[in-house]
Amino acid sequence: MTTVARDAVAAVDPAPPPDKPAAGPSRHRFRAVAGFAFGAALLFAVAPLLLSDFRLSLLAKYLCVAMVAVGIGLAWGRGGMLALGQGVFFGLGGYAMAMHLKLADAGPGNMPDFMMLYGQLDELPLWWRPFASPWFALPATVLLPMAVAFVLGSLVFRRRVRGAYFAILSQALAAAMVILLIGQQGTTGGTNGLTDIQGFFGYNLDDPVNQRMVYFIIAGTLLALLALVRHLMQSRYGELLVAVRDSEERVRFLGYDPANVKLVAYVVAAGMAGLAGALFVPAVGIISPALIGIVPSIEFVIGVAIGGRATLLGPVLGAVAVAWARTALSERFPGTWTYLQGLLFVVVVAFLPGGLASLVGLARRRDGESRDGEPRAGVLARLRRGRKEAA
């Protein structure tokens, strides 16, 4: 094993174990708070000042992708479940929000414009009706994806369906959902999806001031999700999740049920993707099958892999960087971007499995610092690797 890979493992989780005695916790907590404040200042003050309205709304879109990435980082980076179908949950959240906004746009008693166009329906389909109420639609953007993830997750994890199988099943779910959405054109808008959304709870989305407000909501939500995941990872549950990733059987022998541990991470990740989808709709004004199928689902993972799947900030930065690079490059050199995207994916995953975040860890190790910050999981994984080499 090369040193790069070894250090990547060591850098997998820079957060220290929570019950480490002495100077450790308070210093780390201080760092976390300072980092959080820095991020908040960047998102809430610097970005709105420096960026034009157009750029800011692009950033809002990227931050939605970053929210999905935070969830994938939790499920995949910490939990070892490669969730390839996150587009499904993003889509469920997005469609729930879009359905409500479409109904609100149409006004009480009226039907969304596209239904008259394709469906020639006389009245609103039954399953659309509850979405007229914000009290149903808003919780549904998060709870609906969580419910689907709970059903699939509990069926799959309890029967110990293995990693690769799970990845393929989650991908198949994305494929099935896209085909279903396209097939039911009359009630879902088909390939076009739900487009042309104008209002957001009484605010006109064309107004730049309101777009700015949407951006602030998105930025605040992202920060809250990061705080949530950090808190989760510092808890006993976080340790268990990493332990399940590294050795599911051992955790089982210790008396825990790994299925439940994995289920929680998967369901939370699904909720985050749903929330991201819900906020994506007012930011971009559209949700469609093309945004949630197999290809976008894998693209969610790309940013996470490149940034560093098992760190807190890696997925966020990776997702934003990849989304930004796509916009910057794909318009001018569409072919080149695809090659670059593929190449980046191959090189990072094959040769730098910890993502770009592991480069930071590498540099730090060279300075001789942060030995104390080495997590137990890293040690465990290293031990296992060492044994494999010896074998």
């Binding site: 090659y339 593929g342 494999k388």
Partner: protein, 295 residues
């Protein structure tokens, strides 16, 4: 009754296509544990091989016949190259093979776009395969579907014989069952891996040739098929071909009857639910090789 049999044949012919696509995966995914997302692009390579050959050899019958071995070698060579360059380093990390090969598939798709152009292209089918055969009872059977069925059957038989009888097949099975023990017994496991990849990827090329009979050839043709094929291998179980064969036809028939009763999109969802339900009953798939591993 006629409708029923007609539907059954539709299902079987969907199953035959699925089987052809999944057969290569049964080797590389089922036996080697590598999730090769670029498998779909090897199928595309086989299809484009047929297209290129038809530009040179204008007689459709001959070009199709010649395309079969050529596509096998072309796709197989691509598979070996992929194995040598990347997959060799990733045998211990199966999930990462999925991501890496996805990157490869992006590159290959773009390459196809740059070489052949984005619009789909079409090959001419040989006259022999364009018509229908009318069976008694008013059932018609499309010749090209029949040909694909025969091709799938031939591929299964050839692969089974190769795995059971030839020295290479014995080595492949030995490596799959217990890699360490095989290595100790003097089997060059790295070379066997490479040959397994050659055969598995080559079968994708054959599937690509068959698909030219059913529709247009395009840079993204692989992506649409690959998930279904993976599901077949997952449900079929690891290490044996009979699971793949049975499940391919079962899913084909389920898909066709679901489509007949409802719509295509609902049928897809039904198939997915059926698969998850099946995995509750047999989480390791229909048939599995018994090993001593805990996982």
């Amino acid at each position: 009754m006629t409708v029923l049999i007609g539907q059954l044949f539709t299902g079987v012919s969907i199953g035959a296509v699925l089987l052809l696509i999944a057969l290569g995966l049964a080797l590389t995914f089922g036996q080697m544990g590598v999730i090769n997302m670029a498998h779909g692009e090897f199928i595309m390579a086989g299809a484009y091989t047929t297209y290129v050959l038809q530009q040179v050899i204008t007689a459709a019958g001959w070009s199709l016949l010649i395309a079969l071995p050529v596509a096998f070698v072309v796709a197989g060579a691509m598979g070996v190259l992929l194995e040598i360059l990347l997959i060799r380093r990733l045998y211990a990390r199966p999930l990462d093979t999925l991501l890496v090969t996805w990157g490869v598939s992006l590159i290959l798709q773009q390459l196809a776009r740059d070489v052949f152009g984005s619009p789909n292209v079409q090959t001419r089918a040989p006259d022999l395969l364009t018509g229908n055969i009318a069976l008694p009872g008013g059932i018609t059977v499309a010749n090209n579907r029949l040909f694909i069925l025969a091709l799938a059957a031939g591929a299964v038989v050839a692969l089974t014989v190769a795995l059971r009888v030839t020295p290479l097949g014995r080595r492949i099975r030995a490596v799959v069952q217990n890699r360490d023990l095989a290595a100790v017994s003097g089997i060059p496991t790295a070379r066997v891996d490479r040959m397994t990849f050659f055969i598995g990827s080559g079968l994708a090329g054959i599937a690509g040739v068959a698909l030219t009979l059913l529709g247009p050839i395009g840079p993204t043709m692989g992506t649409n098929l690959i998930i279904d094929a993976f599901l077949v291998v997952v449900v079929g179980g690891i290490g044996q071909l009979k699971g793949t064969v049975i499940v391919a036809f079962a899913l084909g028939v389920l898909q066709a009857s679901g489509e007949y009763l409802t719509t295509l999109s609902v049928a897809k969802v039904m198939v997915f639910i059926a698969i998850v339900a099946f995995l509750q009953w047999r989480p390791q798939g229909m048939f599995t090789l018994r090993t001593r591993s805990l996982a």
